[in-house]
Symmetry: C2
């Protein structure tokens, strides 16, 4: 009984997010949430926003937030677009900028929402294989196709491209749009945002869900040349005038301005990632070098799907992708030191029982 569906609805393959269990006792290392709380200033801003003024619409342009982002990155406010999580920002980017005559290019192993957006907006795309070390080689993007999108660091591999490689790509292909999805950049990479000043073909996307510990708030943003931002604003204002509520704008502004908390928590996550990667290697895992708040690892003697299931029986969730090339990997979010210790203990118990 689908007689009232638009025909496109039949062709969609909705994205399946990582499980959000309702059981509190589970150790959640499956959706790359930050183990540390958000900035106290952000939480205070939410509490302060909970007053009579919520009867009023928010600022449709979220000017305070755009200004805070512009100050933080030393760019202009008209270079900033904001949205309801970076997933909404990405959706508008796919519709407004990535639907071109030539096919969109992205890696074969990457954020699995990209092909979903392509089906939603009927965008033609081609995947470009990662090399055998699961690295993106940007030279592979030169010859064919139109616009390009990739995460840096890539997900779920965690592998980072140096910003110099991105700059060279922008110089080689000045007539092709390059979108860099920097959801995880704060965990050890260098942002390409400064390159937006000199390259009108670069758009950079970031989120407050990971390094700012605000996955529950839903705020993301894009930075690029004002011409690119104008396209996104036109799509946004044809979709929803007010994507960010008053509490979200206030909290996100406070979070961006609290750089000390960002620095402290990202350092803790990077330290724990270092120890976790070493401990996994000691247990026989091959661990890809990660610049995200997760590691991507496989064990030559243990099937990944079975291992994920065994960890689940130890009340630990990790993410397994049943997908060619990476079906033997697990993506493990970097938790607190205690959570990572619990993971290692569970692995030891699983291995010794076999």
């Amino acid at each position: 009984m689908t007689q009232f569906w638009s025909s496109i609805v039949h062709e969609l393959t909705p994205y399946v997010p990582g499980e959000q269990p309702r059981i509190d006792k589970l150790i959640k290392l499956n959706t790359n949430e930050n183990p540390y709380p958000p900035s106290r200033n952000a939480l205070a801003a939410i509490r302060d926003s909970a007053d009579e003024s919520l009867r009023l619409y928010p600022d449709p342009d979220a000017t305070s937030l755009k200004s805070a982002i512009a100050r933080h990155y030393k760019i202009q406010t008209n270079q900033v677009f904001v949205g309801n999580g970076s997933d909404e920002v990405l959706a508008h980017v796919f519709m407004g900028l990535l639907k071109q005559d030539k096919p969109l290019l992205f890696p074969d192993i990457t954020y699995s929402f990209y092909p979903t957006y392509c089906r939603l907006y009927q965008i033609d795309w081609r995947t470009v294989p990662l090399n055998d070390r699961f690295e993106i080689n940007l030279d592979d993007y030169d010859d064919r196709g139109g616009a390009i999108i990739f995460p840096n660091p890539n997900a779920p591999t965690g592998r980072l491209l140096p910003v110099l490689a991105i700059e060279q790509l922008l110089q080689r292909l000045p007539n092709r749009l390059v979108v860099v999805d920097e959801a995880y950049i704060d965990f050890g990479g260098t942002s390409a945002i400064p390159l937006t000043r000199d390259h009108d073909n670069l758009l950079v996307i970031q989120t407050l869900s990971k390094s700012r510990s605000l996955a529950g708030l839903r705020v993301g943003y894009a930075v690029g040349h004002p011409n690119l931002i104008t396209a996104l604003e036109r799509v946004k204002n044809s979709f929803n005038s007010y994507p960010l509520g008053r509490s979200a704008i206030a909290a996100a502004t406070a979070a961006i301005e609290d750089d000390n908390w960002l620095q402290e928590t990202r350092r803790r996550v990077m330290d724990t990632r270092h120890h976790l990667s070493r401990a996994l290697t000691e247990r026989g895992f091959e661990v890809l070098p990660s610049a995200g708040n997760f590691v991507f690892a496989r064990h030559p003697q243990h099937d990944a799907a079975k291992l994920a299931q065994s960890l689940r029986e130890h009340a630990i969730l990790v993410r397994h992708f049943n997908q060619p090339r990476i079906e033997q990997f697990l993506r493990i979010t970097v938790g607190t030191d205690d959570q990572c210790e619990a993971l290692l203990n569970a692995l030891d118990a699983i291995f010794s029982a076999q």
Copy 2:
């Protein structure tokens, strides 16, 4: 310099929302916000949400909110879809349900976002003129076209259709989808939601922005047959897995459950609307009968655009639409008694000065 825009971006005509001034002293009767604060329980829920748990993603299905809506209307949870304001819900409805082979029908005078969505999703549409009394006549929708959408009460006219007329339409046209946008239904109308139990071709959309005084939160919902909801979920999960943050879900759930506050504030708004309509009529205005939290009125001796400008000089904002048939009307939000008194005093001052 629009070389990187998708071609559709050139064809858009973004919606222009009512002004959100940054000056506090203005009396804002221009965007149909509720003059009374939100439920205290909703505000408490936001404050309670401002804790460490914001580092975690929200429930992608917003189950607690859907359940509260289902209980409130005595329907099933799988008949409910929720989104980031009813504008986002409408956007997904246009893409997922209203893009049909035959053109979409809606009134010539109605919510001006509808043609904007049609351009975004390249939906063919026809407008059906209101009659001379600015009423929707549903018989006019029988002969041609595919799906149908209209607000009830209509905006910006405020005129209400009896739910019986909607039921008869659904019975006459069982193979055509009917979407009723009930943004203002709580201010004096009867909701068509109970009809969704017996009519699989009806979708009803509501918002928390008006009668629940939560325009600053951004929550809306749709109610209909589970088949219609499935289409919307497929679009939503191809666009953004988590459209509602944790604070929004908690506050919206509390607001839906606080029916006493809804009843009290809607009664106050309706009382003030009654007095305001009478006072405007006494001053020579023609006031359309309104079932919304606004009145739509024209004065035979005073040009509407000039009157809006004069009121602005008295620090009072009202909305004027520069559009055929209604360019001599003003849409005036029902404020508090004091705000409406200030409006009437300003009108008296303007009229006596001429």
